[in-house]
Amino acid sequence: MRKARFFIAEALRSIRANMAVAIAATTTVAIAVFVLGAFIPSFLFVQSAVDQQKDRIDVRAYISDPATVDQVAELEAGIVALQSDGTVESFDFVDKQEALEIMRERLQDPTILEELPGNPFPRSYIIKPAQAERSGDIIAALRDFPAIDPSAGVVDGGETTSRLLDVARFIQWTGLGLIVILLIASLLLIANTIRLSVFARRREVEIMRLVGGTNWFIRWPFVIEGIVCGLIGAALAVGLLWAVKIGVVDNWIVENDDSLTRDTATTIGFSALAGILIASGAIVGALGSGITIRRFLKV
């Protein structure tokens, strides 16, 4: 405890002595964390919107009109089997009458239906996959049941589904990639700043060694210096993000009360975001200086 207080005092002394370097490090972190802080909620928002679209994806298995009750039961057993191995989340049976009702609701001018001979709409199972990505497996598993209507078959959104999934994957990977790049960039910048700080004081470090300072006794103040710069930088970024949220984003949401904002897509709350950002500032600061002193402060 006493040691901790001493090391913090030493770190602050060093920051004061190398103010320019400390400001450079802090600014670097502030910029990186600001970009990260703007990016994370946007990323999560898009991710959430995509997830919702994915939730809407379902597979339809159309049953041919001549199929017997036994054949339909056999198909249902197949779906239940998929459900028990976790591929299918839930399913629903739609009979011919319901199919007609649904169509009637959907059409602008339901009178066309009156002109049809009988009810042309087939029975079907609406199957909700556990994951949108598994719809192909479901189609493959059910396609060859005798109850399936040979022309309508088992289908999902097809093209739309796979494109949506591609988009989702793309957003995921580029998003993660960008976050990693940002973190590494700010890490290297902090490392470089601490390296300057170590270089500026290598004579001092030399003396500390000569009078018997242990590795970590000499190193801790540098690590704390990194953490302090990281924390202050992150705090600045969070303050700036807060201003942007209040001044720009919140107004924009009120003014654009349309499909996008009315959608139930969600993103991270500000306090959780602030917590993550400040923690990552501290970690980046600690790692950045840690890397440097391992390389440049060998005793």
């Binding site: 001493f6 004579r203 000569l210 590795n215």
Partner: protein
Amino acid sequence: MSSDQTPNGQTPEDALSEAEERAQRRMLRRRGRTGGESSGRRGLRRDKSASFLRDGDGPMVVMEDVKKVYEGKDGGTTALDDVSLEVDSGEFVFLVGQSGSGKSTFIRLLTKELDSSSGRVVVGGRDLTRLRRGRIPYLRRSIGTIFQDYKLLPGRTAYENVAYALEIIGESPRNIKRMVPEVLTLVGLGEKGERYPNELSGGEQQRVSVARSFVNQPRLLIADEPTGNLDPDTSIGIMQLLYRINRTGTTVIMATHDRDLVDKMQMRVVELEDGKIIRDQRQARYALAD
């Protein structure tokens, strides 16, 4: 230079015969423990750091057939060649010789700033040739070191420079507050604790360095040309300090080529030439008398 008079008026000319000196040394040490004249320093003798060097009657420093070669393209430089030497606990030894004779190399072997190329270096019962790297800081903090260029931390006041040596060994803030002013007063800088190194004269800076070197009461103190950058009067002041420290029982090894100083003190003199010991003489002068 009254400021260079030590508080009890001790001057180098008071050099004692060896027997008397040993007796007095024992006395000072005992006083140091029981109070008496230096009661203020009783609290200073803490063994937090000194424990690394083993207590006991053995010699403080032993060098056995030590050779040091600085590697280089042209076969390297042999800075020390077949050096063997013993320094007893409590002794004062001058290491003399021309520039380039190997004095600094000798000194730097003692703190394991350098490793010997062959032979054994033993300090306080510890064989440095077999000391693990991680233990080096513990060796160094149990040896007081003084350099020609003072090696003070530039961003710290005199007080903070001395305090740093205590912070390294984990001394409590309360003890630091008590010990540092005492030691600064002892070296005659009681009033200048708040000055930064660049606000002090060379002699004053070296006093700070002396204060730092013995604030944690090392049993061995080594000095590499401590008066090399100082004028003769200032040099005598520093010399007196080292002498007084030696009188409290601390072994002192001092490399110098200050002829006048060595001649005044009449201490043991070890002379190096081209990395070899060519003379080891008690109560000696800088140069061999004709």
